[in-house]
Every structure is written in C-alpha cells, then in structure tokens.
C-alpha cells in the first residue's frame, strides 16, 4: 500500500508548487488610462454691459489649488460667462435641468443676478453659465466662490447649493478698483 501511494504523494506535492510557478509567465503591461470626463479648469470672463465706457473685459482661469485674481471696475455691470476645459459647458447646457452654478460673495462686493433668459433650463430655472454681476464701491476685496453642482432629479425651486454633487468648487480673489 505504502509503495503504491508514494508516487501519488510526490506527484501532488510537486503539482502544488508547479501550478504556481508555471502560471507566473505574465508579461502583459497595463495600458495607461485616458481619463475623459475630468474637469480641470474653469474660466470666468466678465464683459462690461456698457461697451462705450472703455472698461476692459476681465478673464481669470481657476485650476485646482489656485485662487485667481479678478480686478473689477467699481459700480459696473458685467455680463459673466463661465467656460470649462474641453467645452464641457456644452454638456452642461445639454443637461441644464440637472446642473446649476452657485455664487457666494459678499453683496457689498458683487451682486450676482441669475436673470439671463438664455441661461434658463427648460423648467425656467437658471443654470448660471451666464449671469449679470454688478460691482460695489472701490476698495472692496473679498472671495467669490463659484460652485458647479450636479443635481440630477434634484434641481427645483427649493434646491440650493447643499444638494447634489459638487463638480467644481472655485474661488476667485475679487478686488474692486
């Protein structure tokens, strides 16, 4: 009996090790991942509503970890337009019912009005890609926080910045001259 099983024993003990060693021949390397839908930058462009006063448009681009400066003219009405890398604003416009951009800034500094009809979604709710900004008196400085929220099935008359998922949270340093 013992003699009969000895070959089995050796064969299986060896087999145990063999399986692991033979399957080690893996030379395939991973392909780099192309990350498609990342938002990497947000550009805020302010153009004076009155074009005849010789006020220059202002533009600043936010990327992660930065606080770009915006030097604005006092008591001026601007039309503010937000764009992103890779023209992601077009996608946002397509899904306007699920997106909204929120602005947080001291009213003494800038008053943000979401009143541009072409900015509204099909439910008549603003998106925030285009807004009116009215600056305060000269000498004021402070932060303008802009948050893009993805609010699928959540965007309605009561929804605010606290619901949904944040896609971009940008801060600009505003100085009124």
């Amino acid at each position: 009996m013992k003699k009969l099983f000895r070959p089995y024993l050796t064969a299986f003990l060896l087999g145990a090790l063999l399986i692991s060693t033979t399957s080690c021949g893996d030379d395939d390397d991973p392909e780099p991942i192309v990350e498609e839908e990342n938002i990497t930058s947000m550009t805020l462009r302010l153009e004076p509503v009155a074009t005849d006063k010789g006020i220059d448009p202002v533009e600043a681009t936010f990327t992660a970890g930065t606080t770009p400066a915006l030097n604005l003219r006092s008591n001026t009405q601007y039309t503010a337009t937000i764009t992103f890398n890779d023209k992601i604003e077009d996608e946002i416009r397509e899904e306007a019912e699920d997106h909204e951009i929120f602005f947080e800034v001291s009213e003494d500094l800038v008053v943000v009005q979401k009143i541009i009809p072409e900015d509204f979604d099909s439910n008549g709710r603003p998106v925030g890609l285009t807004t009116r900004m009215v600056t305060g008196n000269a000498g004021g400085t402070g932060d303008l926080k802009i948050t893009l929220k993805h609010q699928p099935d959540l965007k309605n008359d009561e929804s605010d910045i606290t619901v949904g998922e944040t896609d971009v949270a940008a801060t600009f340093k505003v100085t009124i001259q």
Binding site: I19, S20, N38, H150, G164, E165
Partner: protein, 797 residues
C-alpha cells in the same frame, strides 16, 4: 403516559445489548481475596446510578468490578448491588449508552452505599442537538452557527448571518453591503474560507462585501483571533469558515427548497438544493444548488433609501467520489450580484458631505419611492470558484489531502457620470490559483498533528480606472501543527513560514515640472516573509468545564491598495495617499477562555483576549488638505503604528424552565493606537444581545413540531472610544440604540411532508438610529421595521 414504561423497556433492552456478554458470565465467579488479613466477605456495595445533571436514575447501566471480574446492571429505579464482597479497594467501571464511561474508586471497610453519577457524552449529544453545544477541539475560541440558528438567518447577507456570534459585528455601506468584523478587525485581516478554499476577492475595500452565497453553508465557523499557522498569512483578526454539508452517502435523491419574503425592502429569495447518491455506484454523489435573491429600496422608519436594491443569482454544483481509503471532489460555484449604493452617498466634495450631515436626511427623502430598479451608483460583482479536492488514507501512516482552487473575481463599479455611458467607472479582474497539500499523521502515542504546504498565485488587472494597479502575487507557505493530549490536558503547538512575492505595474507621473502630465510605467517588486506560530493549552476540569489558553501569531503583508492606490475616495470624501514603503503587520494574540457546556441549565463561554499588532496599517489624517477642482479634500496617508485590541466576549444561556431559555451575548472591545496614544477609529461599540426563547413541547403525531417563539433585543452602546486627539471623523459617533426583535417558527406536517415555516421581526419598534460602523451613517438612518418570512420544504424523491 402510556409510552413511558415502553421506553424504559426499550432502554433496558438496549442496555442489555450493550453489555459485553463475558462480563455477565463472570458474575458468578467466586470473589478472590483482597490483600487484607481480616476476613470479612459479607459486605454489600450498593447505590444508584444517576445522571450527574438531572439526578434522574439511569436504568440498565453496566457496573463492572475489574478486581473481581464481576458485573451487574442497575434496575428500573437505577439501583445496583454487589453482595458478598470482602474488605478492600475496588474500582467501579460504569458504562451507559449516551454517557461517558466513568470509574469510581471505592475503599470498602463495611457495607457501603455509593451513588454513581454519570456525565452525558458531549460527543453523542452534539449529533443529537441541533444548535448551541459544541465540543472543543482547540484551545483558541471557535464558535459556529448551524442548524436552526443558521436557518433563522436565511435570507440575510453572509456577514449579517455571523452577527449571532459574540465578538463578530459588521462593517456596512448602506443596507446592501456588509462585511464581517471580528474583534474589531476586518477586510484583509479576516480570512474567509469558502468550502475549504481561501476566498480571494477584492476584500481590501471597506465597501466590498464577501462574494459568497450563505445558502451553500450548513455551518459557519468563526475562529476569533490570529490563526496564521493553519490558514496562512493575513489571518490576523480571525477566520470565517463557510462549510457546506457533506455530500450524501445513502442512495436516493433529496433536496430542499427555500422561499423567503420580507417587508421593508420587499426582498424575494428562493434557494433550492438537489442532491443524490447512486445506488449502483455508491461512492458517487452529487449536488446542485441555486439561489435567486432580489430586493428593492430599503426603508428607514421615515423614508425610502433611494437606489438601495440588490439582485443576486448564484449556483453551485458538486460531484464527489468517496471510498474509505481515497476520494475526490469537484466543486464549482458562481456568485453574481448587483448592489445598489445609496444615491445620496455619492458626493463630490467634503463640502457636500458637510451639507449632508447638516441636512440630516437624504435630499430626496420625501420623494424617494419603492422600486426594484437599480441605477448608478452600483456594483456588479461576479465570483467564480472551481475546486478540486482529493484525499488518500495512507494505510498506517495517515491521511493526505490535496485541494486546488481557482477563483476569478470580476468587480465592476458604476459610479455617477456626467456623460451617458454604459461602461463601468472601474473594473478589476482578479484571478487566483490556490493549492494546499496536508498530511495528517495517525495518532502517535499522545500526539496528533499535520504538516502541509500551500501556494497562492494571483493576478489583478484593471480597466477604466487605475485606482488599484496591476499586480502579481505569489505566496508559498509551509506549516506543521502537533497536538499532545493526555487525560484532561491538551497542548498544541504550530509553526508556519510564508513567503510572498509581489510585482506591481503602475503608471506614475514623472516629475511634473519636467514632463508635464506624461506618465511612465513603473514595476516595483516586493518580497515579504515571516513566521506564524501557535502555542496553546486546554484543560478539561471535568464537570463540563474547560479552560483554554492560547498564544497565536499571524502576519500580513501590505496589500497592493495600501502600497499603490492613490486618489479621491468618493464615498469616503477623502483623499487617500498610499505608501510604497509599508512593512508587514505582525499580530500577537493572547486569549484565555472558559467553557461551561452541555449542562442542563447554565451553559456559556467567556473569552478574554488581547491582540497586539505591530505596524498596524491605517489611514492617518494629514495636516494639509489636498486641493482638487472639486474643492479641498482632507488627506489621509497609509501609516503604521503599534496597536492593541483587547476585549471580552461572553455568551451564555440559562434554562429557566422546561422549554424556556434565556440567551445572552456580550461583546466588549477596547482598541488603542499606541503611537498616538489614542483610540483606534471605526471600532465596534460595546454590544449586548439578549433573547428569551420558549420551545413548545410537541406531542407525538401532532401536525406541528419544533414550535418556538423568541423575543429579544440588541443594545449597541454609543462608541465613546473614538479618537480624540486627531479629528478624523466628520460627525461624532451616533447615539446608542436598542432594537426589539422577535421570532417564531414551527414545522408543519402535511401528510408525510414536513414544512418548516418561520417569521423574524427586526427593529419592531421602528426605532430611528444610526450605527457607528455604517459608512453611510453620515447620510441616512438605518432600516426601520422588517418582517422576514421563511418557508423551507425538505424533499425526498
């Protein structure tokens, strides 16, 4: 009343059969003299044979006097007599079916009455009793769930099933995802053995539930504490063994069908098993098993949780050919599940998390409705297991066993996306081959033991996201254990050596200033090796009391995720930084336990443990947040520190009256980070689980049998032992809570067909609560009241 005398007669007849005939003949032999000068040979030794615990007389027990080679038997009142004995020392050997053989020393100077108390045989009891009792095989605490206790958990996820064991809790991500936590440790630190094969899925993730269908199990065992010697590296926290019942050995086809339904998430589950054995080829047997499970949105006392449904389809097949001296078994199983993840919990930034905590309930709580539909975010996981096992009884030498397992784990995570796409956001494929060969030698004197070798080869690949890199891991281990047993003392020792090789392939950003966003492929290589050991002693005091003391160790090499995953973890709202320089963790576990078992009234197990982990790997908060386009994320880096986890598990039951049992479980845990001199985060809170069960006596021929009702509750204290010095948590630990639970069940007999029915009610008071170890406690409450109905129909074809 009528049956009693008959039963006595049967017992008497059985005992007659059990009595060795030569001893009966020996009764008439003349008594030899025992070395004493004074001759007095007219003494009588008499008494009763009693059950030690119930004090009931035992009828037909054999009492043998080896010195005189005389034997007698207890009568129908349990009395025995020996007449015409001389003075001297005698031994009474008593034997009775269902009881342990016992010896009593008697010094006879005059006629004497001596009652003989026998202890019920625990080994025999175990086969009779459905649940509860156990025979200790090793010093380290090992507890199991089987029989009726397991039946009552049917329809729950694997980890939930194990909650019935003191010291075992769960780590949850909402109602669909839970994983077992043993003595505060989980994920990579708890090994799962699915049908004897080490489960290799993506177990590193806190939100990755074990890919095992609990319906395949007829027993689930939990080894609490480090068990590295037998089960290999990584078993720092403990081991869960999911064991199916043995394949049938008697000819015929049988099976069972389960039907389950629940309120709340409207779960519908059906599971069926068919198994058979061939009359013409008796060694050949087979089993087919399948489970379908489906649940919709779960409901808290106040609102539905959006997107918390699940779907599961599992099947398994087994084929066995077993002879006495050799045998082989093939097993294949597929587990596939889709798990919905609470929509609300997918957030974009820490600010979103803070908004959610402040809001206190999901933003769509009022509008969420019931549906079985599962939408993004969800997980789709498929796990295949193929196992081949063989054994040879090598004559006098011992038994050789060989197990090969192949597993493929395919994990797809579908997170929220802004662009419409059918593709997952993350896909991981893990292929694992495991082998194990064990040789258990025949008992040599007082020694029993085994030696073995095992190997693991695994390869992980990804698509769509490189959160976890490609890696190839090769592990080889060799171990030996020996048990020495003499009389009441058992000593155990074991040693194991493991070697692990890890090759990682990962794209990494080159120095950003020189090459911008260009990425290069790096291939770091790691080698880990270490020893695991066991030293343990068990002492059987007698009177159904056993003491155990064990010192065990295990180690764990850092996982590929801890070494190389980096990025934002959306569900956790944290930026995790891996650390390629991590060392292996080493755990030393000391346990003292007392077991008081197989007693008629009070039974219990007390276990005190102390687990010291050197270089425990955990996420340490970094002072500076990581700034992303979505805002600032708190950053955590994988760090190592020495940690201790000490605690107490106590489970006991007390029979108050016939049929009425109080069952109580207590788990306490105290975990410290020795380097920061603070508590460890995310450790289970103190937990008390008590229930009162009444089992109805079933009359013969009745249409109902095994009927019971039970009422109980679990109280989970607030986790006051959360880190204080470093603010790691976004919200304080939730308040403690009490949940009222009740159960009832019976077996209906429709003709010859038994049908088991049961109903379980969880959170009957509809208590609003949150649990510290649920990752979604920031977003929503736990489930409200749920009734689970269960029908099992055993079938004989």
């Amino acid at each position: 009343m009528k049956t009693k005398p008959i039963r006595k007669t049967i017992l008497f007849a059985l005992a007659m059969l059990a009595l060795p005939t030569p001893q009966l003949l020996a009764q008439s032999l003349p008594a030899p003299m025992i070395g004493d000068a004074e001759q007095d040979c007219g003494l009588t030794l008499s008494g009763k044979v009693l059950d030690h615990d119930t004090r009931e007389p035992l009828i037909g027990a054999t009492i043998y006097l080896p010195e005189l080679d005389r034997a007698t038997m207890s009568d129908e009142y349990g009395n025995y007599h020996f007449h015409q004995l001389c003075r001297g020392a005698y031994t009474l050997q008593v034997r009775y079916v269902g009881y342990e053989d016992e010896q009593f020393a008697v010094r006879l100077a005059s006629s004497l009455t001596r009652d003989l108390q026998l202890h019920a045989d625990a080994r025999l009891l175990r086969t009779v009793e459905v649940t509860g009792e156990h025979l200790r095989e090793q010093a380290q605490t090992q507890q199991s769930i089987s029989g009726r206790e397991l039946e009552q958990t049917r329809g729950l996820a694997l980890a939930e099933t194990l909650k019935g064991i003191a010291g075992v809790t769960t780590l949850q991500t909402g109602p669909t995802i839970s994983k077992p936590v043993i003595h505060g440790l989980h994920s990579n630190r708890v090994l799962l053995l699915n049908n004897g094969v080490r489960q290799e899925g993506q177990q590193w993730g806190a939100e990755h539930a074990p890919e095992i269908d609990p319906f395949i199990a007829s027993e689930m065992k939990v080894i609490k504490g480090a068990a590295g010697v037998r089960y290999g590296a990584d078993a720092i926290g403990g081991v869960v063994l999911v064991e199916p019942k043995a394949l049938p050995t008697t000819p015929g086809v049988s099976g069972d069908v389960y039907l389950l339904g629940s309120t709340n998430n409207r779960q519908l589950t059906t599971s069926a098993t068919v198994e058979g054995n061939f009359e013409k080829i008796p060694p050949l047997s087979w089993r087919l098993q399948g489970t379908l499970r489906k649940a919709g949105n779960a409901k808290t006392p106040d609102y539905y949780l959006e997107n918390t449904g699940l779907r599961e389809q599992n099947f398994s097949a087994a084929l066995g050919y077993n002879k006495e001296t050799y045998g082989a078994e093939l097993f294949y199983s597929r587990f596939s599940t889709e798990l919905g993840v609470l929509r609300e919990s997918h957030i974009g930034s820490v600010q979103d998390l803070l908004y959610a905590i402040e809001r206190g309930r999901p933003s769509k709580a009022d509008n969420a409705e019931f549906t079985y539909d599962i939408d993004r975010p969800y997980q789709d996981v498929q796990h295949d297991l193929f196992k081949a096992k063989g054994f040879w009884q090598l004559g006098e030498a011992g038994k050789l066993e060989f197990v090969y397992g192949w597993q493929r784990n395919l994990r797809q995570e579908y997170d929220m996306r802004r662009r419409v796409s059918q593709a997952p956001t993350l896909q991981l494929t893990l292929n694992t081959h495991t082998t194990e060969a064990i040789f258990a030698h025949k008992p040599l004197g007082n020694f029993t033991g085994s030696v073995g070798i095992s190997t693991i080869y695994q390869k992980n690949t990804y698509r769509y996201s490189d959160f976890l890199p490609y890696f190839t891991g090769t592990t080889a281990g060799i171990f030996a254990t020996e048990t020495w047993k003499k009389n009441r003392l058992q000593l155990e020792a074991g040693l194991r050596y493991d070697y692990k090789h890890l090759l990682v392939k990962k794209y990494e950003k080159e120095d950003e200033e020189t090459s911008g966003s260009k990425r290069i492929l790096i291939k770091p290589e790691y080698k880990f090796n270490n020893l695991s050991g066991t030293l343990a002693a068990m002492y059987d005091v007698g009177y159904h009391l056993t003491f155990g003391l064990s010192a065990t160790s295990a180690w764990r090499a850092p996982g590929a995720n801890e070494l190389f995953s980096e990025g934002v973890h959306h569900s956790a709202a944290a930026y995790e930084k891996s650390n390629p320089n991590l060392r292996s963790e080493q755990a030393y576990n000391l346990e003292f336990s007392v077991d008081y078992f197989s007693n008629p009234r009070l039974n219990g197990t007390l276990s005190l443990y102390h687990n010291y982990i050197r270089d425990y790997i955990y996420l340490k908060p970094l002072p500076e947040p990581v700034l992303t386009i979505r805002g600032a994320f708190p950053a955590f880096a994988y760090t190592q520190a020495d940690a201790t986890l000490s605690g107490v598990d106590l489970s006991w039951d007390y029979k108050i009256a016939t049929g009425l049992v109080l069952d109580s479980k207590t788990s306490l845990l105290y975990a410290r980070n020795l380097d920061t001199n603070d508590y460890l985060i995310y450790m289970p809170a103190n937990r008390f689980d008590n229930s009162l069960r009444y089992e109805f006596a079933s009359a013969d021929g009745s249409k109902l049998s095994d009927a019971f009702v039970s009422v109980g509750g679990v109280y989970v204290a607030r986790q006051n032992r959360a880190p204080e010095k470093t603010e790691q948590d976004y919200a304080p630990a939730p308040e403690g809570y009490f949940l009222l639970q009740a159960e009832a069940g019976t077996t209906l007999h429709v003709g010859k067909q038994p049908i088991e029915v049961g109903i379980t009610g969880n959170n009957l008071l509809n208590t609003v609560y949150r649990d510290y170890l649920n990752k979604q406690r920031y977003f929503a409450d736990e489930l409200g009241r749920m009734l689970l109905l269960r029908v099992r129909v055993p079938l004989k074809f």
